[in-house]
């Protein structure tokens, strides 16, 4: 069975560790961490990923900019993106989704919810 690769782009080490804890429950998954948008862009451009979890408010490059750059790149445009953010306003959600995010989750997160969404998106990607 192919191993899946997930990229976590999040500036908070606490959130990164929590997400790694949650995602480790998935089988055959490798997790890579990036600490800001620029680091995330570098990693996602240089390696294959099956899904990306991206925070919005980050230093150097924010999550929205990163999403628009990913969606603008042909080779990366199919990667499912889950936004995980503190911004709960409707317009923030709509903006992220319009830029190409597949799902929008607000903090504090429920690990089960994240897992369900990640599993669903990776399954959809496998079907496509």
């Amino acid at each position: 069975m192919d191993r899946k690769r997930i990229l976590i782009v999040e500036d908070s080490p606490t959130m990164r560790q929590l997400l790694v804890f949650a995602l480790r429950r998935l089988k055959n998954v490798d997790i890579v961490e990036a600490q800001d948008g620029m680091d995330g862009l570098r990693k996602i451009s240089s390696d294959h990923f099956d899904l990306a979890l991206i925070d919005i408010n980050m230093p150097v490059m924010d999550g929205l900019k990163l999403i628009s750059l990913i969606r603008g790149e042909d080779s990366l445009s199919d990667i499912p993106i889950v936004v995980i953010t503190t911004e709960g306003a409707k317009e923030d959600r709509e903006r992220a989704l319009s830029l190409g995010a597949n799902e929008y989750l607000t903090k504090p997160i429920q690990a089960n919810h994240v897992l369900t969404i990640v599993k669903g998106l990776m399954k959809d990607e496998a079907k496509a």
């Binding site: 080490p13 606490t14 804890f21 503190t86 709960g88 607000t106 504090p108 690990a111 089960n112």
Partner: protein, 272 residues
């Protein structure tokens, strides 16, 4: 003469064809005969059973009824067992969800305490407290107050969601913050309350060896956060215990570093 021989051959062939058809027909007859024999045997057996006496029939009926009763009982016991298994299954599913939630909560608490004790740098510890309060608790407006050892005042060390000067002073007697700090008891108000910098929703005193060294005051929650869960209360306890020891250790470390540098300076001065 040759014409007669040809006729003779033709008659011979016709006879052979007729003969082979006759052989096939005989085979079919034998097969049919076999089938009819089997039918006859089955009918004879049925007839023999039908010819049982009424007493034999009654006995046979009783046996069948007894068997039926046994089967009904067995069916009932299987149904009962199935219901039990379904109930057990339901209980296991509920328990599984509870354990999963417990597991998630423990992961949150582990990550919080791990991060708090991952550094001895005071600014780093404060940054981690801020991260935990935002990301794990879901607070938008809050401040971390630390006790100034010299003045005995509680000062805002770090804050989010408002200017530092806008956060209330803890010296106001009778205020929720002063009360929580003095008693060392966390106070949790109404989570649905509108953000108000005069009245915090939550006060978490930071205590080390029964001595309060600071306090976390939460004045507003993220808009998607509509209440406190059991995990939030656990996190408040973790913050009260672990954040305070992490802050205390970081302060001691920076003090000892300063003293060490001073002593090193003296030693350098004397030895040069």
């Amino acid at each position: 003469m040759s014409g007669d021989r040809k006729d003779l051959f033709r008659y011979g062939e016709e006879f052979l064809q007729l003969f082979s058809r006759g052989a096939e027909f005989t085979k079919e007859l034998l097969t049919e005969n076999e089938r009819l024999r089997a039918n006859l045997a089955a009918l004879e057996q049925e007839q023999a059973e039908a010819s049982k006496t009424p007493e034999e029939w009654d006995k046979y009926r009783e046996e069948l009824q007894a068997r039926l009763r046994d089967l009904e009982q067995e069916c009932e016991s299987v149904r009962t067992r199935l219901r039990q298994v379904e109930e057990e299954n339901q209980q296991f599913a509920v328990r599984y969800l509870e354990i999963e939630e417990e597991n998630n909560n423990l992961a949150n608490l582990y990550v919080a305490s791990y991060q708090l004790h991952s550094t001895l740098d005071l600014d780093e510890v404060l940054k981690i407290i801020v991260e935990i309060v935002i990301n794990l608790v879901g607070a938008e407006i809050f401040a971390v107050y630390l006790l100034d050892g010299d003045s005995g005042q509680l000062d805002v060390a770090v804050c989010e969601g408002a200017e530092m000067a806008d956060f209330p002073s803890c010296s106001r007697p009778g205020s929720m913050i002063a009360k929580s700090f003095e008693t060392g008891e966390p106070i949790c108000g109404d989570p649905t309350q509108r953000p108000n910098l005069e009245e915090p929703i939550v006060c978490i005193p930071l205590i080390v060896q029964n001595r309060p060294i600071g306090l976390i005051g939460i004045f507003g929650l993220l808009q998607q956060k509509d209440g406190f869960s059991a995990l939030d209360h656990e996190l408040f306890s973790v913050m009260g215990g672990h954040a305070s020891t992490a802050l205390f250790a970081a302060r001691l470390y920076s003090q000892s570093e300063r003293k060490l540098n001073t002593i090193q300076g003296f030693i350098d001065l004397l030895t040069k």
